[in-house]
Amino acid sequence: MADTMELRDIEVWDGNMAAAQALRQVQVDVVAAYPITPSTPVVENYANFLANGYIDGEFVMVESEHAAMSGCIGASAAGGRVATATSAQGYALMVETLYQASGMRLPIILNVINRALASPLNVNGDHSDMYLGRDSGWIQFDAYNPQQAYDLNFVAFKVAEDHDVRLPVMVHQDGFMTSHTAQGVKTLSDEVAFNFVGEFQPMNDMLDLDHPVTHGVQTEEDWHFEHKARQHNDLMTKVFPKIQAAFDAYEALTGRKYNIVECYDMDDAEVAVVCMGTSVETAVEVAKEQRAKGIKAGVVGIRVIRPWPFEQIAQAFQGCKAIAALDRSSPNGAPGMLYNELAGTLYNAATRAVLTGYVYGLGGRDLTKSLLNQIYADLVANAAAGKPTTALQQLIGVRGPKLEFL
């Protein structure tokens, strides 16, 4: 039996520690990991808790991220509660196995501490790795601060392990900006935290010797499409009600409310930015300052990236006149992901808001309040003109001659 850790009501934790404490509190059975900056402390702290008797579990040291997720897949198929963490290049090496995990419907939790993808090599935070996994069949949650990194891990286990869902979940947080930034985190006691998620309920586990199963089968054109269709159907129809129920239960327990799409000052907003990660909070602060100047500014934060909240997004922008999609990943020859998803979502919606896109913050480049103020100024002009007054895509915060396209 693992020892209980006494926590203060508010602990000053960075995002990595917050995630690691959540893994401890739900008593993850197996972590197979290959540490990589900036995600290292998540699994390092898990190993520390394990070595000091605070977890009944196993830490499996492996030779690569591909092996890390493979180990997680094996442990999860065997019937354990399983989690790991990674970033950037490690995530890229994991991609092949991400598809295996989701196709096998294994409820693994992956903390992705978002970091730029080389080349050039860079350890700082952007959303390149997050975007790389968006078709992998996982559920993706995004945390904007350490408190949310803590909270969303509990929600992730609850949703993933539900027998009507049985899909792996990534909990994203911004490398360094969240992972290495210490802030006050309101904690749950070990007992309350564990009980929210509950004992792991295995399903089709390999260690159920009375019901032998074969995992990871091959299908060709005769069966593959049906399996993928089933997974897509479940992501499209079954996941959001379960996420909402988990958010509701978590709010009832803690008072902290999460939404599939986070709307800040959107009720009467005429201009809005849409973004993810720490940028959401900085944008909320800037929007408040814009409001003080008489501009009806709002912010939409994407809390659930996959499945994509089509209906909730369409709802969020009613009455909005100009929207900016902020992508923290180089689209490398296309509009940004958020721009494209928003365009696809809003094209048939009631809104006829002007939609423009921005690429920002690559490799950890600071998103300053000054940059956000410029974006709102663009949006106010777009709203007044009823059409784009800027290029559809602008790169902001980059040195050199102005870069804008489309």
Partner: protein, 185 residues
């Protein structure tokens, strides 16, 4: 919003200092944020760490800061980096040096006319902790200059923050904090 910028070398404990300060401040009901800008992330490389303190939740995640306090815990960084960047007229400096404040300002004209305090955190750390880890003494100096907390409360809190260290090291840190509090000018 109170904002603090630390100038340090990787390995001198600025991140630990910033996080320790955040921990203590958090216990008084305030919202805190502590983060760092790691640069090349090599031991000895110049780096900056940051604190934000406020009565309401801190939403701002930009690294850009107009600091209320600039804490310099390595004496050479006054010359090799710009410790005055993005400051404001009321910014308060606490700088580790063996020199007097007048000598320091004379040696680095950028500091002229600014509110500069000096304390030799390196020497204090060497004489108390036995290593040039100047982070905790800088916190003692900050308590004196800012009047943020009573010394008894602060030291009591720091004992809790440092609780994983051996008692001897904790005692040495407390002595370092007290000496910097007494010696900062």
């Amino acid at each position: 919003m109170l904002e603090i910028r630390w100038h340090s070398r990787a390995g001198q404990g600025a991140v630990t200092g910033a996080k320790g300060l955040a921990d203590v401040v958090s216990t008084t009901g305030k919202e805190v944020q502590a983060f760092a800008f790691y640069g090349s992330a090599k031991r000895g490389a110049a780096m900056t760490a940051y604190n934000r303190v406020d009565d309401k939740p801190i939403l701002n995640h930009e690294k850009y800061m107009n600091p209320d306090y600039v804490l310099v815990i390595d004496p050479a960084l006054v010359y090799t980096t710009d410790v005055t960047m993005n400051d404001k007229p009321e910014t308060v400096y606490i700088i580790t040096t063996h020199m007097s404040t007048d000598e320091l300002v004379a040696s680095q004209p950028k500091l002229a006319g600014k509110n500069v305090h000096t304390v030799d955190c390196i020497k204090i750390a060497q004489e108390t902790i036995g290593k040039a880890i100047p982070n905790t003494p800088m916190l003692g100096a900050l308590m004196k200059v800012s009047g943020m907390y009573e010394m008894d409360f602060f030291k009591e809190s720091m004992v809790r923050v440092l609780k994983k260290l051996p008692k001897k090291i904790i005692d040495a840190n407390m002595e370092a904090i007290q000496r910097a509090y007494d010696e900062v000018k």
